[in-house]
């Protein structure tokens, strides 16, 4: 059994290394005085200085984060509702139809989504900018949330709900005390996937943005014509390290507080 565990860990480390190789590569070259992502010439902090002095870039970073967080949160709420709706629908065909419609945005190439949203927003009369970008990010993140939450709902045994109901719980109690806690991992998974979609999206945002509003991906893509400047590497490095610290910090804080809660509970 112990030998098995060693292999398991070796495998995980291997996958981990592969996932991080390109990122380490980016970080490494962000210190390159040569100005390109090949031929490391010498160590410099020039790119970091350039990034820190660039207010426009920081506005874009803030925009990107705001959009990503808001879109992920709202689409998670919508997506959970959607998953519940699909779960509750009794008719098989109806279920299938809803699921198919749900997945349309996942399969549609970004260009089509972008172009059709652009037409849609002009018809409705929404100004291009923050609102239109937020709305489209919510729109294309909902289906992935549904996909993440639905399996959790289906795993839940119906007897659980019946039992709760027999004990006198009403609909709202069933939802908040039984269903939501059960599907919480799915909800978090959906949230993080939505965040990922939003942070990564270029094509859709490109079509629906305007009036000076921009996100990081759009900025990076449009700078690509002249070759990506290493200040973008430097910026990504900073953002990445910041996220890593945030994630680890959040994890240990929440761990600590939950063990505290747990202990208090046990003492009672």
């Amino acid at each position: 059994m112990r030998g098995n565990k060693k292999w398991a860990n070796a495998y995980l480390v291997f996958v981990f290394l592969i996932l991080y190789t390109p990122i380490i590569y980016l970080i490494y070259y962000s210190f390159n005085s040569g100005g390109t992502m090949h031929d490391f010439e010498g160590f410099t902090l020039e790119w970091y200085k350039e990034v820190i002095g660039d207010t426009r870039l920081w506005i874009i970073v803030l925009n990107t984060l705001t959009i990503a967080l808001l879109a992920a949160a709202i689409s998670t709420i919508l997506g959970v509702m959607g998953a519940l709706a699909i779960y509750y629908v009794k008719k098989r065909q109806m279920k299938q139809l809803l699921l198919t419609l749900n997945n349309v945005l996942i399969v549609s190439p970004d260009v089509i989504i972008g172009a059709s949203f652009l037409i849609l927003f002009t018809i409705i009369g929404i100004q291009l900018g923050f609102t239109s970008v937020l709305l489209s990010h919510i729109a294309f993140s909902v289906p992935i949330v549904v996909l993440m939450v639905l399996p959790k709902l289906q795993e839940m045994s119906p007897t659980l709900i019946d039992a709760a109901r027999d004990l006198g719980a009403n609909q709202w109690d069933v939802l908040t005390k039984v269903i939501l806690p059960f599907i919480t991992p799915g909800i978090f998974a959906g949230f993080f996937m939505a965040l990922t979609y939003s942070l990564d999206d270029f094509a859709v945002t490109f079509f629906v943005t305007g009036n000076g509003f921009s996100t990081l991906s759009v900025e990076i893509y449009s700078r690509a014509r002249q070759g990506i400047s290493l200040s973008i590497n430097a910026l990504s490095t900073l953002l990445f390290l910041f996220t890593v610290v945030l994630v680890i910090g959040y994890y240990f804080i929440s761990q600590k507080s939950s063990t505290l809660y747990g202990m208090r509970g046990r003492r009672k």
Binding site: A8, N9, Y11, L12, F16, L19, T21, P22, I23, Y25, L26, M37, H38, L78, M81, G82, L84, Y88, V89, Q96, T100, L101, N102, N103, V104, L105, I106, V107, P109, V111, I112, S116, L120, A139, F140, V142, I144, L147, M148, L150, P151, K152, Q154, E155, Q171, W172, L175, P185, A189, F192, M193, T196, D200, F202, L216, S217, I220, S236, T243, Y251
Partner: protein, 276 residues
């Protein structure tokens, strides 16, 4: 929705009204951002490049060139899904066995938050003739190979991109697994492998399905890395749509291909949903 109003609704004999509350915002979303664009696409697919009503686009789709493209899209999507699953399942499985598993899971997802184009550029450097991968091949005595612009690099990078989307749902379904089931199987004398094959895998099938959908469907329409990593040696339907919408301005043909993609997606959803 407030607690009070929900409680009031429960007293109502029509329990369905509560369920409709979930349905309502979701259906609005579907109407606005799914049905409306689908109708637009359908509408455009019946027009030729000069704006005349025609069925020619559909006829064009059934010419060898587009059929070949469709077949190769499906084939690559299949490969990508297969290898993603192959890598992701053991990863998710062993992740659930680690201490701090939630943290490790998060750390596995983190790389996806770095801009895709940047990572792809990094891969261009890593897989290049003088890149890291070839340096490793050189030192272990295999010698420099062309890695960039091959099927291998295309599938590799696609799998790299999609892996988190596969790991997450599988991890979740593994987490839900009741450990006593496994203990029971072991007590009954099943080997580790039998337990896995007979108990663990079937019970996590829903997660696997969700993961496969989240990978297979978007990989049908990959476009950026077909150019960057595969050097246009791989042409998918997504690439063609991109071309028709942005370069040729032949929205009709682009929409027609999109219609077929949507149909393909519907088939996938129905096929993976039926066994339940």
């Amino acid at each position: 929705m407030s607690c009070a109003s929900a409680r009031m609704m429960v007293r109502d004999p029509m329990k369905n009204s509560v369920r409709n509350v979930y349905l309502f915002p979701y259906v609005i979303w579907i109407g606005l951002f799914v049905v409306a664009p689908i109708l637009l696409i359908l509408y455009y697919s019946f027009f030729d490049i000069d704006g005349n009503w025609t069925l020619a686009n559909y006829k064009t789709f059934f010419t060898p060139i587009y059929l070949k493209m469709a077949a190769s899209s499906v084939w690559y999507a299949f490969l990508i899904t297969f290898f993603s699953l192959l890598v992701a399942y053991p990863t998710a499985y062993w992740l659930t066995k680690t201490k701090h598993k939630q943290l490790w899971l998060l750390l596995m997802i983190l790389p996806t938050w770095v801009n895709l184009l940047l990572k792809v550029y990094a891969f261009l450097g890593i897989f290049g003739t003088y890149g890291l991968a070839n340096a490793i091949l050189e030192t272990i005595g295999i010698g420099t190979k062309q890695i960039l612009f091959t099927d291998f690099s295309f599938v590799f990078v696609s799998v790299y991109i999609f892996i988190p989307f596969m790991i997450l749902p599988i991890f979740n379904s593994l987490e839900e697994l009741n450990p006593s089931l496994i203990d029971a199987a072991r007590d009954l004398g099943a080997s580790a492998w039998t337990t896995f094959r007979r108990v663990v895998f079937p019970l996590t099938l829903d997660g696997v399905k969700a993961g496969c959908q989240a990978v297979f469907i978007p990989s049908l329409s990959l476009f950026m890395i077909t150019r960057l990593i595969a050097g246009n040696r791989v042409i998918t339907l997504g690439t063609a749509i991109e071309q028709h919408f942005l370069v040729t301005q032949n929205w009709g043909m682009g929409s027609t291909i999109a219609v077929f993609l949507i149909i393909a997606m519907a088939i996938v959803v129905i096929a993976t949903g039926n066994r339940k």
